[in-house]
């Protein structure tokens, strides 16, 4: 019973944290089961492939289990885990950014009409984000989804605030262009192609 996944969902969060602090494998599994799907999305947003995302997920969960003793409960457990995922993903990306540093990019023309993403399945949105250039992908995630401001992003990534802004603007334009293409496809065929 202890090892079953159902049992993990029945546990209260403090109980789950306590079990993980004691290093109990069944509790670790329960915590993993509870958050792995959501966290996989976080990792996918920062990665280019599923394999890469799974590597990040694995590394980050190991950090979660090793660092849960230090979790003071100031924030929600999910927020804390998400932060570890993002930091781990950024560490992975930093290695690549070291080779190809982020620079100011030219601003592209935004499409005239703002295209809404409502009705588009998140997996397709995920694909769009993954298809962004490296720098744009990271800055977009940090700014639009994680909610960091450009100053914080600049500090996090060791770039200038201007670079962060220009990368974000480019990301936004690229996404808008893709969304426009998708919406024209819907208009033509009436339903999503996935």
């Amino acid at each position: 019973m202890e090892n079953s996944r159902t049992y993990g969902y029945m546990l209260q969060e403090p109980e789950l944290i306590e079990g993980c602090r004691e290093g109990k494998s069944s509790y670790q599994r329960a915590l993993y089961d509870r958050y792995c799907r959501k966290m996989m999305v976080v990792c996918l947003r920062y990665s280019k492939s599923t394999a890469e995302a799974e590597d990040v997920l694995q590394e980050a969960f190991v950090k979660v289990f090793q660092g849960i003793k230090e979790f003071r409960g100031d924030s929600k457990l999910e927020t804390w885990i998400t932060r570890i995922m993002v930091n781990t993903a950024l560490n992975q990306q930093r290695k690549k950014l070291y080779l190809f540093p982020m620079v100011d990019v030219e601003e592209l023309d935004l499409p005239q009409n703002e295209v809404s993403i409502s009705g588009i399945h998140f997996s397709q949105l995920l694909e769009m984000v993954q298809a962004l250039p490296q720098g744009c992908q990271i800055v977009f995630n940090l700014f639009a989804i994680e909610g960091y401001n450009h100053k914080e992003i600049a500090e996090l990534l060791g770039i200038s605030e201007g670079t962060s802004k220009s990368q974000y603007a480019r990301a936004r334009t690229l996404l808008q262009q893709k969304l426009l293409k998708e919406s024209s496809y819907y208009a033509k065929y009436g339903e999503a192609k996935f």
Binding site: G23, S25, Q28, R29, Y32, C36, R37, K38, M40, V41, L44, R45, T50, A53, E54, L57, Q58, E59, F61, V62, F65, Q66, E114, S116, I117, S118, I120, F122, S123, L125, L126, F143, A144, I145, G147, R172
Partner: protein, 483 residues
């Protein structure tokens, strides 16, 4: 307006991913578990290293403590000796003082009137002449110095001053002239009651459990546990142990009998006369093939015993330049030891039947049933195995076939029996190695390079043809392990 749009854009993306879920593959959890175990393992190692350091520190501390106690004990002993020497010196001084006192008393007697009081009396009567005697300081246990002045009835004064460092006794006559002075390091024991000196060694504390020893014992026990665990891990589990197995396999190799030939004196006449035919066949080298099955068992941790049945063929080629006419004179067969044997057993002279020919190639094919029995020593007994084998094989001759290349001549076939020139049963020595790999719980594959050497000539002894072909072959065996 633009900012508003931007805000909406970001919010909509945030919203889209808020409840999104993608299941990762099952491997992720497995890898996480492995990583955690690895991390725990390294932590344990670090902890062990700390314990080892602590143990080393404890040993150093214990040794230091032991040395310290020894040194202290030695110095205490020497202090005691010094003290004893000092006491002896004091006793000597007291004696001198007593002598001085006696001298002073005598002098006092000479100088003073007969009614004068001796110093001894003075001492005795100090309490009675209280009015004339004053004590400037009373000796007591608390004070470090004392001074006693006694005045005799004649006016002579004895002044005794004692401090921790110096004790002096001065005696003055009635006119205050100094009569005698005596100094000593410690006159006190003579004038006052001797202070008892008690020497004692530090009392040994009750035996308590030494925490260092306790920790070392615990560490020792832990190490034993770990070693035992490792041993258990490295030892094949009982259910996986290889106690009995059977194997099938084949081997291929070559044999050579370069030292073979016909013995000059003992060989029958026909062999001596046709030495070249016998020599070329006996010296022929060729290929050997073996196919067979065996069964093996473990005798002990390292020793194994293997036995089995093999079908062995040895095929050699030699060149002949004569042929033998058949009894019906209708055909020829290749010249061979088989034919020479027949000649030696019959009355027909070989010359009548043997015909010289152009050199041609003859193939001699020997077949044996071999029953090997070998003892093996396992040098490595893991999934990868390395074993040394040695033993004997009983080779039962089955038949030999002599055929000429091209098929123009008849093929001669001789089976085991009196008519065969080959020894029916022979013993061969076997030696070899076995490199094996266990690829599953029940199967092991092995490569067996080995040597085979017949202990006697393969030909019957009465023929006096010596041939002990040494065979080197490499076998491949598949072993099935019984559980």
């Amino acid at each position: 307006m633009r900012n508003m749009e931007r805000q909406n854009f970001e919010d909509s993306w945030k919203q889209a991913f808020r409840e999104a879920e993608v299941p990762p593959s099952d491997n992720v959890w497995t890898n996480i578990e492995l990583d955690l175990e690895r991390a725990n393992g390294s932590r344990l190692k670090k902890r062990l290293a700390i314990f080892q350091l602590l143990a080393a520190a404890a040993v150093i501390f214990s040794v230091g403590l032991g040395v310290g106690v020894y040194i202290m004990k030695s110095s205490y002993q020497s202090s005691a000796n010094e003290l004893a020497q000092q006491l002896a010196a004091n006793a000597k001084l007291n004696e001198q003082l007593n002598r001085a006192k006696d001298q002073m008393v005598a002098q006092n007697h000479r100088q003073a009137s007969p009614s004068s009081t001796t110093l001894t009396d003075l001492n005795d009567r100090t309490s009675t002449v209280n009015a004339e005697t004053h004590t400037s300081a009373f000796p007591s246990q608390q004070t470090n110095s004392s001074r006693v002045e006694a005045v005799s009835a004649t006016g002579a004064i004895a002044d005794l001053e004692d401090s921790n460092d110096q004790t002096s006794l001065s005696v003055f006559g009635a006119n205050r002239e100094e009569v005698a002075t005596m100094n000593g390091n410690s006159l006190m024991p003579a004038l006052y009651e001797n202070r008892p000196v008690k020497l004692s060694l530090p009392v040994q504390e009750k035996e308590e459990v030494d925490p260092v020893q306790l920790m070392l014992a615990k560490l020792d026990q832990r190490e034993k546990e770990i070693a035992q665990k490792e041993e258990e891990q490295t030892k094949p589990k009982a259910k996986d142990a290889e106690k009995l197995w059977t194997s099938v396999g084949f081997a291929a190799g070559s044999f050579s009998a370069s030292n073979a030939g016909v013995s000059d004196r003992q060989a029958p006449a026909v062999f001596q006369q046709n030495r070249s035919i016998a020599n070329s066949e006996a010296k022929a080298s060729g290929t050997a093939y073996t196919i067979g099955a065996s069964i093996g068992t473990k005798l002990s941790e390292r020793w194994v015993f293997q036995g089995g049945v093999n079908y062995l063929t040895q095929s050699s080629d030699y060149t002949a330049n004569s042929a033998v006419l058949s009894s019906d004179a209708a055909s020829f067969s290749p010249a061979s030891i088989n034919e020479l044997q027949k000649f030696s057993a019959s009355d027909v002279p070989a010359e009548e039947k043997l015909v010289s020919t152009m050199p041609y190639n003859v193939n001699n094919n020997l077949r044996y049933l071999s029953i090997p029995m070998q003892a093996g020593y396992m040098i490595i007994n893991r999934n990868f195995g390395l074993q040394l084998n040695a033993g004997v094989a009983t080779d039962v001759f089955l038949q030999n076939t002599v055929s000429a290349e091209g098929g123009n001549l008849d093929r001669t076939k001789q089976e085991i029996g009196e008519n065969s020139p080959y020894r029916s049963v022979n013993l061969s020595g076997l030696a070899g190695t076995e490199l094996s790999y266990r690829f599953s719980r029940k199967y092991r594959i092995a490569l067996n390079p080995g040597l085979r050497y017949p202990m006697n000539s393969i030909y019957k002894s009465e023929l006096a043809v010596k041939s002990n072909p040494i065979t080197f072959d490499i076998g491949l065996r598949f072993r099935y392990i019984f559980h």
